[in-house]
């Protein structure tokens, strides 16, 4: 079992008010399995993924009955051991390469740094490894990109560089938090295909976060649908049509379809009772 989370809760406290952003999320991910997490903005997808890598700010209060990665209890790890996991056994791809790459460091240095953090080797070897990784993510003109700064390359290339950086130490799990929502639609498909291929050839598990339900179900084995910090429903990717939960059905109905064009998209309805029935 690669990831095993049971009853994860994340709360923030500000001005004495407590806000529970994630309320009892559970999911499991087997090795080489691909899990998609979908849900509307603010439903708690990103902080769930960050909690797994213990990347949340200190004011976040995280509790869980169980939170394991590769059999390791995340909650009891020391910060030092967590650093070995981060990047080493789990790569984390963020949303927008414009902000997630350091603007004042070259792409090559940022990838080499990731490599050196988890491998033994000198500067020269790290640079060669970085070039090799850039070739693996099939970036155009890898030699130029190596010495380029993030603002000098396109968003799609930036995201490829980001992927290369996270692959540097050969992780067993790849977490991608909306890796394409900042990119053009045409680039989006390329990047997703690249991630898909890399996950397959390297035998990694994948946690793909998105708000695009059909897209996620196309790339993943199963899909978790989140709403207001809870998992509404978990489905095998092929069974979307059989979705039982009204929220999932609502998400699906809200999609414009080319086959059956309609003038008005239905408004997504939300029912407070969904949350109560889960909380019992």
């Amino acid at each position: 079992m690669l990831v095993d989370i049971e009853n994860l809760r994340i709360a923030f406290e500000s001005n004495g008010k407590r806000f529970e952003a994630v309320r009892g999320v559970s999911f499991k991910l087997e090795a080489r399995q691909k899990l998609g997490i979908v849900g509307e903005s603010g439903s708690g997808k990103s902080i769930t993924a960050r909690a797994l890598m213990r990347l949340l700010p200190p004011q976040a209060q995280v509790t869980a009955d169980r939170m394991r990665f590769d059999g390791i209890d995340i909650q009891s790890q020391s910060e030092r051991e967590m650093r070995k996991l981060r990047g080493g056994r789990a790569g984390f791809i963020l949303q927008d390469p414009k902000y997630s790459l350091n603007p004042v460091k070259t792409i090559g240095n940022q990838i080499a740094e990731a490599w050196r953090t988890h491998n033994k080797g000198g500067k020269k070897e790290a640079r060669e490894a970085a070039l090799d990784l850039l070739e693996q993510v099939m970036i155009r003109d890898p030699k130029r990109v190596l010495d380029a700064y993030p603002h000098e390359i396109s968003g799609g290339m930036g995201q490829r560089a980001m992927i290369a950086m996270m692959l540097a130490p050969n992780p067993t799990l790849l977490i991608a938090d909306e890796p394409t929502s900042a990119l053009d639609a045409s680039v989006e498909a390329e990047i997703l295909r690249l991630i898909d291929e890399l996950v397959d050839t390297r035998n990694m598990g994948l946690l793909l976060i998105s708000h695009d339900l059909p897209l996620v179900s196309h790339f993943c084995d199963k899909v978790s649908v989140m709403y207001m910090g809870q998992v509404m429903e978990e489905l095998a990717a092929g069974e979307l049509a059989q979705a039982k939960h009204p929220y999932t059905q609502g998400l699906l109905n809200c999609l414009p379809s080319l086959d059956h064009p309609r003038t008005d998209l239905p408004v997504l309805t939300r029912d407070p009772s969904w949350l109560e029935e889960k909380a019992q």
Partner: protein, 337 residues
């Protein structure tokens, strides 16, 4: 590349405009001050025809534009006129007094940077902690109390009260004039002369003014560093640096700090300019024989050429430091390229 050259040309243009404005203002100071340069030159009791002749000889009957032209061409040739008080050319007076100011301001800047930048980083990383609070409290006095009050308090405590530092001035009188002037920087000149006694004497005299100025500047540098760092630490690239498995320290110094270093250059340049400019006040309190004191003395005595010349030089230094910050910014920030 082309755009880069263009924006640099724009900067240079604005520098030239500023310098022109500065020259006009200093020129006007010389005209509107309630001091008659003719009387200052020939004496209060000179007969009317002598005054009129001197007035014509000094070109003061010419139209303002002509007067400005002759002023600016003199300035460009390095001629700032003569001081009535010292009877020296203003340029050589400035060359004589400036090193004292430079020595004090430079040491203060170095000390303030060495203390302020790390303090600001620590305060940002440990935001809200006791350490942050302590740093904040230490800095509050530094930027809310005027520097001359700090200086007077410093003298009261460390000179009058504890007798830890020598009194006002730059040198004990037994060392006065003992070290040949090479750079005008006493610490360097005394070392060049191999006179350790003079060196320690100069250092001893520098201690209090430098500490006060450094404290004052440190407060500002710390506050700015903290604000810049807090901003940088919020960046998404900090999450990705941590997600790579880097240690907290490497994230702070290797990823957050390089992002603020460039902004800090500007802060340091402005601080330095402020220290040189602020010398007018501190040097009076410490009886420091520098440019500020030269200016104050001239002002009190209605000696206009030194006033105009010194103001021009301090203004030009200010503009020069701003230009330097701008150039460094272009060199060090890859995003500007």
């Amino acid at each position: 590349m082309n755009q880069r050259a263009k924006s640099f040309a724009a900067t240079l243009g604005s520098v030239l405009v500023t310098l022109f404005g500065l020259s006009v203002i200093t020129f006007m100071i010389g005209r509107v001050m309630p001091v008659d340069p003719v009387l200052a030159a020939v004496g209060d009791n000179a007969p009317a025809d002598v005054v009129a002749a001197a007035r014509a000889a000094m070109g003061l009957d010419d139209p303002l534009v002509v007067q400005y032209w002759s002023y600016i061409s003199n300035v460009l040739q390095g001629d700032l006129g003569q001081s009535v008080l010292t009877r020296n050319p203003v340029v050589s007076d400035i060359a004589h007094y400036f090193p004292a100011t430079l020595e004090m301001a430079t040491l203060a800047l170095i000390l303030a940077t060495l203390l302020g930048v790390p303090a600001g980083i620590v305060a940002a990383v440990k935001r809200g902690s006791l350490t942050d609070q302590i740093i904040r409290v230490v800095c509050i006095a530094g930027h809310s109390v005027p520097v001359f009050v700090l200086a007077l308090l410093g003298l009261l405590i460390f000179y009058v009260g504890l007798d830890l530092v020598p009194g006002p001035g730059r040198q004990g009188f037994i060392y006065d004039g003992m070290v040949p002037t090479v750079t005008g920087i006493l610490l360097i000149d005394s070392l060049l002369a191999g006179d350790m006694g003079a060196f320690w004497d100069a250092a001893h005299h520098l201690a209090l003014p430098v500490l006060i100025l450094a404290y004052f500047s440190m407060a500002y540098i710390t506050r700015m560093t903290r604000a810049f760092m807090l901003d940088a630490l919020k960046g998404e690239f900090i999450i990705s640096a941590r997600a790579k498995g880097l240690s907290g320290w490497k994230v702070v110094m290797g990823h957050a700090f390089p992002n603020v270093a460039v902004q800090l250059i500007t802060v340091l340049a402005l601080t330095y300019a402020g220290l040189l400019e602020g010398a007018v006040i501190t040097e009076t309190v410490f009886a420091w024989p520098g440019l500020g004191q030269y200016l104050t003395t001239a002002l009190m005595n209605g000696d206009m050429n030194p006033v105009v010349g010194t103001t021009l030089v301090i203004g030009a230094i200010y503009v020069g430091l701003n230009l330097l910050a701008d150039i460094l910014y272009r060199v060090f920030d890859p995003r500007v390229k």
